[in-house]
């Protein structure tokens, strides 16, 4: 399964409780109130478990985590050895 699809499924199941119709790739989790602080930790835990990398404290910024699109880029950078955006 494509990495983006996995993330989308996780977000739809856990934060939108199955209702993913309005979730676009560039929807801001923070602005739309989709994920709160505890939710971010759940998301990080999911990313680390699923993709086998660890998320550093300074990588936890909106540029990396605030939308499906940003997360997809972040995963790509992490898996391909490119430096992820920091704070």
């Amino acid at each position: 399964m494509d990495n983006s699809v996995k993330v989308r499924e996780f977000v739809v199941e856990n934060f939108l409780f199955g209702d993913g119709e309005k979730l676009k790739d560039d929807t801001s989790f923070m602005e739309e109130g989709i994920i709160d602080s505890t939710g971010i930790l759940e998301l990080v835990f999911f990313l680390e478990e699923t993709f086998g990398f660890s998320v550093e404290d300074d990588e936890l910024v909106p540029d990396n985590m605030d939308s499906l699109q940003n997360i997809a880029r972040f995963i790509d950078r992490k898996l391909n050895g490119n430096p992820a955006k920091g704070a």
């Binding site: 199941e13 856990n14 939108l16 409780f17 199955g18 209702d19 923070m30 602005e31 109130g33 989709i34 709160d36 602080s37 505890t38 939710g39 971010i40 930790l41 759940e42 990080v44 998320v55 404290d57 936890l60 910024v61 909106p62 985590m65 605030d66 704070a87």
Partner: protein, 690 residues
């Protein structure tokens, strides 16, 4: 439990004062029916049933007044002085009749004036003082009362019914207008005893609860059932029902605020609080204190011990989970004051199992489990022989204790330079317990930076809280969403604000919103009167003495929260009587476990049953698919997020409220009520109705 009379006299009052000033305790419920258009016959059984539904508020004695147009009922818990306290009470010529729930703490002073004016009393109760004051001054009498009350006065000569409620809404009063009848009661269940009154959930009320944590006054969760708003009275006369606000939360522009030095402010607050406590100890029974270990209840208890009664009994709550338990501070205060303390250990199992009983009394969905331990505590207090307690409620609103006030201040500060990292760091100081995880720093700063471009919006201070809570509406069913339609709760709040709001400082605006929305409808009801009166316990709240409220409204914002130090004035005022560990301790908001309470070994099965697709289908309020996912998530994760936790309680409690009041409301039998007093003035034709 008998307490020797001499122990009940408090230091600071002479023996003469004590016996003349004792307040005959009348914990009770009131109810009534009034034909708005004139006499149309009334049934005795109807009012008996309404009173029967309030028996927990006044289990010992009932009284009824009934004529062809109005029926008034009263349920009373008898303490002493049976002969003089039975209600309804009348004036000299028996034209005015009152049923009343509450206490007027300054009634001895009011009575002196009335005696001088020639009024004659046949009881020693404050109820009768209130009635004569109304006779003397009409509705203006309300502004002179320092107390907590809900009342109904029938003027049999003018055929006018007058209902009123205390300033901040400590005592409840609900009503509905149905078939040209005004039906009212201390609790909604009493109104539902009239079988023709429909029992439906109000979709707009659901939208409000799942945004503001409670309904916006005067709405309740039940369609067409309203509360008489705090600080209001209403009249039914000549076919019309009219409402009037006689008091509002005071807001002063800076030019009208005080220029006193902080030391002088503290000195005056010390005096006011001491007197607020003194008059609230007026009772014909011993008065206990809630002691949580927080600043407010510790301060109130210390005032009692130091000035009035060193042997006061205190009561507190302990929790299983460390994040909630305040045992360390509670024990510190117990040692410091050397009081006889009883604590209730509220286990997660107890909290979860008591949710339905608690909701029966709260009569509204809850987003938190905090009310339940207080419901359990009132039982312990009552069984310890105490019928009245002082509590610390209201101090956070009046003195500026809530994080939401500090949050608004920091967000305004941040809004000037939204990209300033240094300014954003201040957010972490507000919520050290959620910022302790360094991973969250950037995310949380972004979270609190939302809405920074809306600092001129009157609801700016509450934007983050309400926006977060609103997310729970994602669980609403399609039907509920359609019924809510385009309703905009924020706009309703904006429209309801008084003219003086615009001239007030930002901090006072936040205080106003908190008091107008949250104080009466949640704190003083679901965590106050309703859970206390469930076990016939009366709470008294010295921090909400009108003199204290008004004085603090004139204190400039800079002294209320000094920098980010909340309740600065109160802390300074209590410095001499509380240990430093209490005045300088970090504030830990009172709350109770949610997931651990609702999904533990003993309660999970019940929770799952109430949240099953079948149960959800019966109410039609929530999307079963989403709720199933929430439940699955709640069981799977170790730490359920704040919003998911609130969703869990909110959905569960809405389902239970629907079941208790809409689906399966059984009511009480009129035969269960045997009034000690019935004043029946009905004509023969009318009596046939019963």
């Amino acid at each position: 439990m008998g307490i020797p009379q001499k122990e009940r006299r408090f230091r600071g009052e002479s023996e003469g004062d004590y016996f003349s000033n004792r307040l005959i305790l009348i914990m009770c419920g009131i109810a009534g029916i009034c034909h708005i258009n004139g006499p149309d016959g009334l049934s005795l059984d109807s009012i008996k049933r309404m009173i029967g539904a309030l028996c927990h508020r006044g289990p010992d004695e009932t009284g009824i007044y009934i004529d062809d147009q109005v029926a008034l009922g009263h349920a009373r818990l008898s303490i002493i002085d049976l002969s003089s306290g039975v209600q309804p009470i009348h004036n000299e010529d028996k034209n005015l009749w009152i049923v009343y729930n509450g206490e007027i703490f300054n009634y001895p002073e009011l009575k002196k004036d009335l005696l001088q004016k020639g009024h004659r009393f046949y009881t020693t109760s404050d109820t009768e003082v209130l009635l004569h004051l109304y006779e003397e001054q009409g509705t203006d009498c309300l502004t002179q009362l320092n107390g907590q009350f809900a009342l109904a006065i029938w003027d049999a000569k003018k055929k006018e019914l007058f209902l009123a409620r205390d300033r901040v809404g400590i005592r409840p009063l609900y009503y509905t207008i149905f078939n040209n009848m005004l039906i009212f009661g201390s609790e909604i269940k009493s109104i539902f005893e009239n079988r023709n009154v429909s029992r439906q959930i109000d979709p707009i009320a659901m939208d409000q609860i799942f945004t503001f944590w409670t309904t916006l006054t005067p709405r309740t969760v039940f369609k067409d059932i309203y509360e008489l708003p705090p600080g209001h009275y209403m009249k039914a006369c000549d076919g019309k029902v009219t409402f009037k606000k006689y008091w509002d939360i005071p807001l002063y522009p800076r030019s009208e605020q005080s220029d006193l030095a902080p030391q002088e402010i503290c000195r005056q607050i010390q005096q006011l609080l001491q007197d607020a406590v003194r008059i609230r100890l007026r009772a014909d029974v011993p008065v206990g204190c809630y002691l949580s270990g927080g600043l407010d209840s510790s301060g109130a208890t210390a005032l009692v011990v130091r000035n009035f009664n060193k042997d006061v009994r205190t009561f507190g709550i302990r929790f299983d989970s460390d994040g909630y338990d305040e045992g360390e501070y509670q024990s510190l205060m117990v040692s410091h004051l050397n009081v006889n303390h009883t604590d209730l250990r509220a286990t997660n199992e107890q909290i979860g199992a008591s949710l339905p009983d608690c909701l029966w009394h709260c009569e509204k969905p809850l987003l938190r489990t905090g009310p339940i331990p207080l419901f359990l505590l009132s039982d312990v207090v009552r069984k310890s022989g105490y019928k009245v307690v002082l509590t610390g409620e209201g101090a956070d609103e009046v003195f500026g204790g809530y994080n939401i006030f500090r949050e608004a201040k920091v967000r305004r500060f941040l809004a000037k330079y939204p990209h300033s990292h240094i300014r954003a760091e201040l957010i972490g100081r507000l919520y050290p317990y959620i910022f302790k995880n360094p991973k969250l720093k950037c995310t949380l700063q972004s979270f609190f930076a939302r809405g920074l471009d809306q600092i001129d919006d009157p609801v700016f201070s509450h934007f983050i809280r309400w926006e977060s809570t609103k997310r729970i509406k994602t669980f609403f069913s399609q039907e509920l969403n359609s019924a809510v339609g385009q309703y905009d709760g924020y706009e309703q709040v904006r429209q309801s604000l008084p003219e003086s709001f615009g001239q007030a400082d930002d901090f006072s605006k936040a205080q106003y919103l908190e008091m107008a929305i949250f104080l009466s409808n949640y704190l003083l009801s679901s965590q106050g009167d309703r859970v206390a009166m469930a076990h016939s316990l009366e709470i008294r709240v010295p921090f909400l003495d009108p003199r204290v409220i008004n004085f603090m409204a004139k204190v400039p914002a800079k002294w209320k929260i000094l920098g980010l130090n909340e309740k600065h004035i109160l802390k300074k005022s209590f410095e001499g009587i509380l240990p430093k560990e209490i005045t300088s301790r970090p504030k830990n908001p009172y709350r109770a476990p949610i997931k651990q309470s609702l999904l533990n070994e003993k309660t999970a099965e019940y929770t799952k049953e109430v949240l099953s697709a079948e149960s959800l289908g019966k109410t039609g309020l929530f999307d079963a698919g989403k709720v199933t996912r929430l439940l699955r998530k709640a069981q799977a994760v170790e730490n359920l997020s704040e919003i998911d936790s609130m969703a869990l309680v909110g959905i569960l409690s809405s389902q239970i409220i629907h079941s208790q009041f809409v689906q399966s409301f059984t009511g009480v039998s009129a035969d269960s009520v045997a009034p000690a007093l019935i004043v029946d003035r009905r004509s023969k034709t009318s009596m046939a109705v019963s």
